[in-house]
């Protein structure tokens, strides 16, 4: 039997209580990182949902692999073999250049560090908030992922880890409107900041002087100034430079070279300074050479 008078607080009191808590959560999420623990705790309980939602596309890809016929596999194998050849040919040159570069930098006494450890993570194909540019990957803090970790795909920089949960982590893409990264023009070293536009295929460059030497087609690479991204990775290609008399700066837009909406696998990167902090440089896959350690010890 329904009681004649409801016990407990009335609906309006409940609304005020719930709204206050929600507003507090919004403010906390915007300004304080401490509350991320709450979110990752809740995210662990909801992991089955993410897993289930990503299952159909994962199964579809598995089936695709299963039914691929011999000719197809042979063709792909051939293509990969050729790609491997060209890449290793380029790498030979690159190795020589890298060691030369490092030697020269050591002569100059600059603390330049190369070498990274990477982990391949798979995207979980789920639809997150459609008004944010973010993706979910299947590696979390249990695999050593940390907040702020740079994430790349085969072509370029994709973004950075925004939230790391034990089993999954959320990657904020470089095109999200809340994301900015320091870049430089590969051709001449002109520095700028690339800010996300909220559109998947567009970045805006801030504070580029009107007389700056920047052209359509220029490749933008990470400058490494922010400390989050390792230097020298491609980010985007300039698509439009327009100079309007009324504005103080040139309007420059660029298109990310990473396949932000098509990649299945991403690379989570540990850069060398971070590895050294953790004392994990020994298992860095042979990239932490003696000379680069030296460069860190003697700034």
């Amino acid at each position: 039997m329904k009681p004649l008078f409801n016990r407990g607080p009335s609906a309006i009191v409940r609304l005020v209580m719930a709204s206050l808590v929600a507003l507090a959560l919004i403010i906390a999420d915007l300004h304080y990182r401490e509350f991320d623990a709450l979110r990752s705790g809740l995210a662990v309980t909801l992991y089955p949902l993410h897993f289930l939602a990503a299952l159909p596309s994962r199964l579809a890809r598995n089936i695709e692999n299963q039914v691929a016929d011999k000719a197809q596999l042979r063709a792909e194998n051939k293509r990969l073999h050729q790609e491997n050849l060209t890449l290793s040919a380029r790498l030979q040159r690159f190795d020589a250049l890298e060691s030369e570069n490092e030697r020269l930098r050591n002569l100059l006494g600059s603390a330049f560090k190369v070498g990274e450890r990477v982990l391949i993570a798979e995207l979980l194909q789920v639809d997150l908030d459609p008004y944010r540019q973010q993706v979910l990957v299947d590696k979390g803090t249990l695999s050593g992922v940390f907040v702020g970790q740079p994430v790349l795909d085969a072509n370029a920089v994709m973004g950075q880890v925004e939230r790391a949960n034990p089993l999954t982590s959320t990657v904020l893409l470089i095109t999200d409107a809340r994301h900015s990264l320091p870049v430089k023009v590969n051709r001449n070293g002109l520095r700028s900041i690339a800010t996300g536009s909220g559109l998947i295929d567009q970045l805006n460059l801030l504070h580029v002087p009107k007389k700056a030497d920047i052209r359509v087609g220029d490749l933008l690479v990470t400058s490494g100034l922010g400390g989050t991204y390792p230097p020298g990775y491609p980010v985007a290609r300039v698509t439009e430079v327009s100079i309007e008399p009324g504005k103080r700066f040139a309007t420059v837009t660029a298109e990310p070279t990473a396949r932000l909406d098509r990649s299945h696998e991403v690379l989570m990167v540990w850069s060398l300074p971070r590895l050294m902090e953790e004392g994990a440089v020994t298992d860095a896959g042979g990239v932490g050479t003696a000379s680069s350690q030296h460069a860190v010890l003697e700034p």
């Binding site: 609304l15 929600a22 959560l25 919004i26 949902l49 939602a53 639809d127 008004y131 944010r132 973010q134």
Partner: protein, 159 residues
């Protein structure tokens, strides 16, 4: 509140969250019904003395976690939506089907309006007009959705 009641509502909410993150083709994303909001509106109108503002808050909070939006965004909008439904449920119970659907549309629109307000208040990119498509789709879906859940409630003998 019996254990079976608790499980049923958690199950329906779980399905709603699942449907919210299920991948869809890009053109269809804008038309995705507000599953979690519909579920809460159903439970409040069906059991107004047991499901109310706090359940709505919980559903919204978990939706924020599952979709990775600002924590508290949907918690706030769902709380307000839950309150509105609690206040309107006496009237909704007496309405004809199309009147019910219209009032559900109103409630869901308020939910989206509050979300939009929070988005712009926190300097996040605000969506365009297609943002409101989902409310229309949800309204058209409501009669079948409510019938389905009513059948589920009857089948599971939830009291």
């Amino acid at each position: 509140m019996s254990i079976r009641f608790l499980w049923t509502i958690l199950l329906t909410l779980g399905v709603a969250w699942f449907l919210t993150i299920l991948p869809m083709p890009t053109w269809a994303i804008g038309y995705r019904p507000q599953w979690a909001a519909l579920t809460i509106v159903f439970w409040v109108t069906a059991f107004p003395d047991r499901v109310g503002v706090f359940w709505a808050f919980f559903a919204g909070l978990m939706l924020d976690v599952v979709t990775g939006s600002l924590l508290g965004l949907h918690a706030l909008s769902f709380s307000i939506m839950g309150y509105l439904t609690v206040e309107l449920q006496h009237r909704i119970a007496l309405f004809l089907a199309w009147q019910q659907a219209l009032s559900v549309w109103l409630i869901l629109t308020v939910e989206r309006l509050v979300s939009l307000w929070v988005l712009s208040a926190t300097n996040q990119p605000t969506p365009g007009l297609s943002y409101w498509n989902a409310t229309i789709v949800s309204m058209l879906l409501w009669p079948w959705f409510a019938a389905l859940l009513r059948a589920l409630v009857r089948r599971l003998d939830v009291t």
